[in-house]
């Protein structure tokens, strides 16, 4: 890969301390740096330029007009609210699942543990159609729920269900390792001092858990904001009511209104990136506090 070697040669020339300092012991710095940078620039960074160019071709007024269009704003609200509800639901049930998987033994535990990752491995379109089928009025769940007066399919509730499904693993898999690492001695000490279960949970266990829980919920939220395939089959996609922002982008694209699509997409992208960096910084800080790294 001569380009990769060229890149690393330039780096070693311009910044000799970076290029030479203790990379010399283990081999492959140049090659791996070259491949990584090449890939990241081409695949991740370059496409961003297309969006930047499209958006900067618009005047600010045009831009503002597009992103504050009432239908678009309605989609922000629908998406954000649904994502929030789904994340909170996942926060509770994800924690429950993680707790049960880590602390107890019961028949079928291995199966449940394996199936937690299903939403991660299952294509979103498949998730979409199966959830739509299950929650439709005559679906397996839908029929019972409509007897209780709850409509899920073709309502915002459907969106919440789809988002909860696809991002559940984020909470479970973020909380599980922390639960596993909990030292039994901490709990035993608290109990020996006379604390009730509830108190120990509140003052000893939960404080150790909540950073990971928050991270998982934040990841779940970020993922849900952008969820498309699982949502569009169950949502009904009615403008102003159950239309998510990613669908709005898609709709504008189908109308060949690339400018509008880009404008909306830039908002979504900005929010996602901000959330990503916030989560990363938060993780770095909380990890440092607990483990002293």
């Amino acid at each position: 890969m001569s380009t990769a070697n060229q890149a690393s040669a330039v780096i070693q020339q311009r910044w000799p301390r970076i290029g030479n300092r203790s990379k010399r012991v283990l081999p492959g710095f140049g090659l791996s740096l070259g491949i990584s940078l090449l890939f990241i620039s081409l695949i991740l960074m370059l496409p961003l330029t297309g969006l930047v160019m499209e958006v900067s071709a618009m005047s600010f007024d045009q831009f503002w007009f597009v992103i504050t269009d009432p239908r678009v704003v309605a989609s922000y609200k629908v998406t954000a609210l649904a994502a929030l509800s789904a994340s909170l639901f996942n926060g509770v049930f994800g924690l429950l699942l993680a707790w049960v998987l880590v602390r107890y033994e019961f028949p079928g535990k291995r199966l449940i543990d394996a199936v937690v990752d299903l939403p991660f491995a299952l294509p979103t379109a498949v998730a979409g159609i199966v959830l739509a089928t299950l929650f439709a009025e005559n679906g397996w769940y839908g029929q019972w729920l409509s007897k209780l007066g709850i409509d899920v399919a073709f309502t915002p509730v459907g969106i919440v269900v789809a988002m909860a499904f696809t991002s559940l693993p984020f909470v479970v898999r973020t909380v599980q390792p922390v639960l596993e690492e909990l030292a039994p001695e901490d709990e035993e000490a608290a109990v020996s001092l006379g604390a009730s279960d509830a108190l120990v949970f509140r003052r000893v266990i939960f404080p150790a858990l909540w950073p990971a829980l928050l991270t998982g919920v934040a990841l779940s939220f970020t993922r849900s904001l952008g969820e498309f395939g699982a949502v569009i089959f169950i949502a009904g996609n009615m403008p102003y009511v159950s239309e998510v922002t990613s669908l709005m982008i898609f709709v504008r694209l189908q109308e060949y209104d690339y400018a509008a699509a880009s404008a909306i997409a830039s908002v979504v992208l900005l929010v996602s990136l901000v959330m990503l960096f916030a989560i990363t910084l938060w993780q770095a800080r909380y990890l440092k506090r607990i483990e002293g790294r």
Binding site: L46, L97, A127, V130
Partner: protein, 289 residues
């Protein structure tokens, strides 16, 4: 190691009442939300009998969709395997400014909506994009045909191998590789004989997961594919098409294939974790005279 079984080491939440309440609730939610949907896919696919299932799967458009999907995966997976491994090696074996930034950058496809991802590529490589228009001069069209699908799939699945390898390689540390260098081994020899055996299972799972996600990508591919039946439809798009056409059984037939791949992925993960716990147990019982 199992604290809940010894009454002397009773932990919070071990009282039978609470414990079973929690277990039953959790299992119920898991069944309702996770297992039932999986079952429903297969039940619906077989809704009109095995014969219809077979017909659906061998329908020409379905076959084409399967072929295109496999083709895309066949290109995506090796690319991301090389990239993921290179990045993991770079980031866990060396210290350099910008290292932490790289680790964060790799998470971008995770945070970005697939539709936005598709749009990014469309804007760049579509007829009006700055690269796309240049390519159009040479009569090359990447969007609305398979190259666009491959590129967008590579984007969406690029974190997976790296994310599997990085924590593992960080935890393993670079001492073995250092020892190899001191003993005079070349770079490739070190990677081949020392690193690779140590990361084998994580790598395998990374590949399997990348494959599952590549095969199943929907949102991004919807944007760039053009949705032309028989030409640019991947299997997930094909599922959507059938569903919109009210061919529920047909849609679920194709969906069941995809679900099968998902189940296989979970099985591999379970196996990999079993292997890793087995090695861990062996290491823990090793201290003999």
């Amino acid at each position: 190691m199992n604290a809940s079984q010894s009454s002397r080491h009773r932990r919070v939440g071990d009282s039978p009442a609470i414990k079973w309440l929690l277990i039953v609730t959790a299992v119920a939610v898991a069944i309702a939300l996770l297992i039932m949907p999986l079952l429903v896919i297969f039940v619906e696919a077989l809704g009109a009998g095995w014969g219809t299932l077979a017909d659906n799967l061998t329908d020409q458009y379905t076959l084409h969709a399967i072929g295109l999907t496999l083709f895309v995966a066949a290109l995506t997976v090796p690319l991301n395997l090389v990239f993921g491994t290179a990045l993991a090696w770079l980031v866990t074996r060396f210290r350099f400014p910008g290292r932490k930034l790289l680790i964060t950058l790799i998470d971008i496809p995770f945070a970005v909506s697939p539709v936005v991802a598709g749009l990014l590529y469309l804007l760049l490589y579509g007829r009006n994009g700055w690269v796309g228009s240049w390519l159009a001069d040479y009569d090359m069209q990447l969007m609305f045909s398979w190259p666009g699908i491959v590129m967008v799939t590579v984007f969406v699945t690029c974190p997976f191998v790296a994310r599997e390898l990085i924590p593992l390689m960080q935890q393993q540390g670079s001492e073995e590789e250092e020892a190899g260098v001191v003993l005079g081994a070349s770079g490739w020899r070190i990677f081949r004989t020392i690193t690779l055996p140590n990361i084998k299972w994580a790598l395998i799972y990374g590949v399997v997961l990348t494959n599952a996600r590549a095969v199943g990508e929907f949102g991004a591919v919807s944007v760039v594919s053009g949705n032309i039946r028989g030409q640019t439809n991947t299997l997930p798009l094909h599922v959507e098409l059938l569903y919109q056409d009210y061919n529920i059984v047909g849609a679920f037939a194709s969906a069941s294939l995809l679900a099968g791949i998902a189940v296989f992925t979970l099985a591999v993960k379970g196996f990999v974790e079993w292997r890793q716990t087995r090695t861990l147990n062996r290491l823990q019982t090793e201290e003999t005279a």
